[in-house]
Symmetry: C2
DNA sequence: AGTATTCATTTCGTATACAAACTAATTTAA
DNA sequence: TTAAATTAGTTTGTATACGAAATGAATACT
């Protein structure tokens, strides 16, 4: 049904990769001043919404592979952003808590993220922004 | 101007990351049967359009960092997909040529990619597909 | 010519990503 | 109640990704 040759510039996988690459790179640069990476920041965001989540909870919400998450959490703990504590009722589970180092940083980091978002979509109208988000969500199902 | 707290689920960086993750994972699975990765395939595509391009040419077209490209080309050469030959006129430049191993594979790989594209966007109408591609291109500038 | 600069690519270090194998703890079932 | 299956998390191995430094080659400048 769809056998014509499509150049890679028209391939949705390529377009998503490059758009993500651009967005990620932009945010990454903004975060270097804080010593954080975009994914590390994402985990802090999740913990701001609910502190003490298990590693598995976080992975499920952020759609992060366990193997990936394990390393990210290690680096966050090494940087004293979080503390890992085994759940007293089920010692398989590790609960993640924010440290005091993170206090007061939330507004600044949110502002950076909002600016990054704005810059990435600066060429789009408000309708287009809303639509793009909707389409990306539809893709993930 | 944009100081309200946005949950990460509404963050364009997050949405792009997850949509890309899904698309990439889908295509990656399809390609394992061939022993290729999505990026390796992308480079073959670029060479099908024009064989003998330099590493720099390929990097520019595919928006790939030189450091990244170097490793990918090494692995492609190790798998006998490509051959690296220094340009006779400028020995700084390395030209990349497809090997005979790739012959006849193009239609199959294109079909896999088209199927991956279709599956990723299966929930979208034709108009939405066109629009999504346009918006992603707009983001890249 | 000889030196400085620029250019193409590689190397190194760090950080995602994910499959697969592994450990340890809990639950299920026989 | 003990063996089997499941679950949570880590480890290992491979593949992007990219900044920064290094290498080697070509060009520019004096």
């Amino acid at each position: 049904m769809n056998t014509e040759e499509t150049k890679y510039e028209d391939c949705i996988i390529f377009l998503l990769a490059k758009a993500y690459q651009k967005a990620h790179g932009n945010f990454k640069k903004r975060l270097t001043a804080y010593g954080l990476t975009p994914i590390q920041h994402l985990i802090l965001e999740a913990l701001w919404l609910e502190d003490g989540q298990s590693a598995g909870d976080i992975g499920k919400k952020l759609v992060l592979d366990g193997a990936t998450l394990s390393g990210v959490l290690d680096r966050l703990a090494a940087g004293d952003w979080i503390k890992k504590e085994p759940d007293p009722d089920d010692k398989r589970i590790i609960r993640i808590f924010l440290t005091k180092k993170v206090r007061g940083l939330r507004p600044k980091l949110s502002e950076e993220r909002n600016q990054a978002n704005d810059e990435i979509m600066r060429r789009l109208s408000l309708e287009e922004k809303v639509l793009l988000k909707r389409l990306l969500r539809d893709i993930q199902g």
